[in-house]
Point group: C2
Chain length 221, copies 2
DNA sequence: GGATTTTTTTAGACTTATCTAAATTTTAAT
DNA sequence: ATTAAAATTTAGATAAGTCTAAAAAAATCC
């Protein structure tokens, strides 16, 4: 249907506009994709021609409903393949991104739906990101940034904001994988470092940068 | 490492030369790939430049050891993915070719080796074709063409020579799937039609064309 | 064994996706 | 409200992979 390149642009636009509904700029896309702004402009014209985006020269782009649907299905495929790689083939959560980046371009709706069923219709991928269902619906979840917790609060790690292998491996070292139960023991105003209790045993100092990149779900007290 | 297109050419050359060791002609490749002879010539130059083939103008091509190794690994990936699709995702044997055609280009040696282990190191794919191991070694098997059997001989269906969905679906209808046990009851010289007993119960007339496209393993008497 | 047919290669063109450099538009600043 | 800076687009080139039509080489046929 669409080339891998076109699909990658759609995904980039989707991810850049998922938070804010504002149009995405040419430069933002070129940075995220490591291409020149000129290449992006060329591609935007093609995508607009195919009715995947709304493009106004010099004003940025938004996805059309077809474009958003296509991007959502790419995200679905990417995340389902990540679940497969981690849960079935026992890859670590920091190893799967590149492979999923290729697998997401495999063309077969039947395949992705069967994979979904095979995996038990998972709602979240190995990094805690929500997996859209066959209709494109995401599961929402009450979550906050770890560093926003107050001293004494308990929470469970449910996701990460950063996905670099370095960060994920560091979290492994800190035993802060998904599902980890933590309690804030101390908060240092000097630089935002926190002292965490990690259940059932263990204690760690985590930097503000780490705390800013972890999503947690507060525990009822 | 190599583009999907380059890989497809290597696979075509491999398959065209796997029986005979003779050089493969430009026309043979263009027919198999549904491209013009001119396109093939262009690509052969590129593949020769990359030391994947030995190319002599007007004389056809053979694979270098690098080329053969690359093609073998593609066949390995293709067939392992077919096993996954059929055994894990419950696709029928006539539905998996196109998907495997895409999946075979996923770049990750670790992935294919883990998939191999996950599937239990299968030696044959859902069509009975041998799957090369991580070293590129194929498993050989004593097999003959069904129509070469004599009246009274018993055998087990172990593979197919033709892979079209039409043929495979027809075999399903005849209950001549892999593993089926058959005995030749009659052989009509008129057009080569055979009357088969299919164990445990069942009897079918099969045309010569069908019989020519099925591999069987003779049963000791 | 020379003429004809078939096969293969070359020449020139097109598409997709990319780039750099130059031109244009928008934004920000004084 | 100009002007300077930043962002974006256009122009022109390149590489991969494809095509058709024409030229060249190889194979085949009396």
């Amino acid at each position: 249907m669409f080339s891998s390149t076109e699909e990658n642009y759609l995904k980039a636009i989707f991810n850049l506009s998922v938070r804010t509904k504002n149009p995405v700029s040419t430069n933002a896309i070129s940075q995220r994709m490591n291409t020149s702004a000129a290449s992006v402009t060329d591609m935007l014209k093609r995508l607009a021609e195919k009715d995947l985006i709304n493009y106004v020269k010099y004003k940025g782009v938004t996805l059309t409903s077809t474009g958003r649907k296509t991007a959502t299905m790419l995200v679905r495929k990417h995340r389902l393949w990540e679940v497969f790689l981690v849960e079935q083939l026992n890859f670590a959560w920091d190893e799967v991104h590149e492979m999923a980046e290729q697998l997401e371009h495999i063309q077969s709706e039947e395949l992705v739906n069967r994979l979904d069923r095979y995996l038990g219709y998972p709602k979240f991928d190995p990094h805690g990101d929500p997996i859209p269902d066959a209709n494109g619906q995401f599961t929402y979840r009450q979550q906050v940034i770890l560093s926003e917790l107050e001293v004494g609060e308990e929470a469970i790690v449910v996701g990460v904001k950063e996905h670099s292998p370095e960060f994920l491996q560091f979290l492994d070292r800190l035993h802060l994988q998904l599902g980890a139960q933590v309690m804030i023991q101390e908060h240092f105003d000097y630089d935002g470092t926190m002292r965490l209790k990690i259940f059932p045993e263990g204690e760690q100092l985590v930097s503000n940068k780490v705390g800013q990149n972890i999503y947690v779900q507060k525990k009822e007290k």
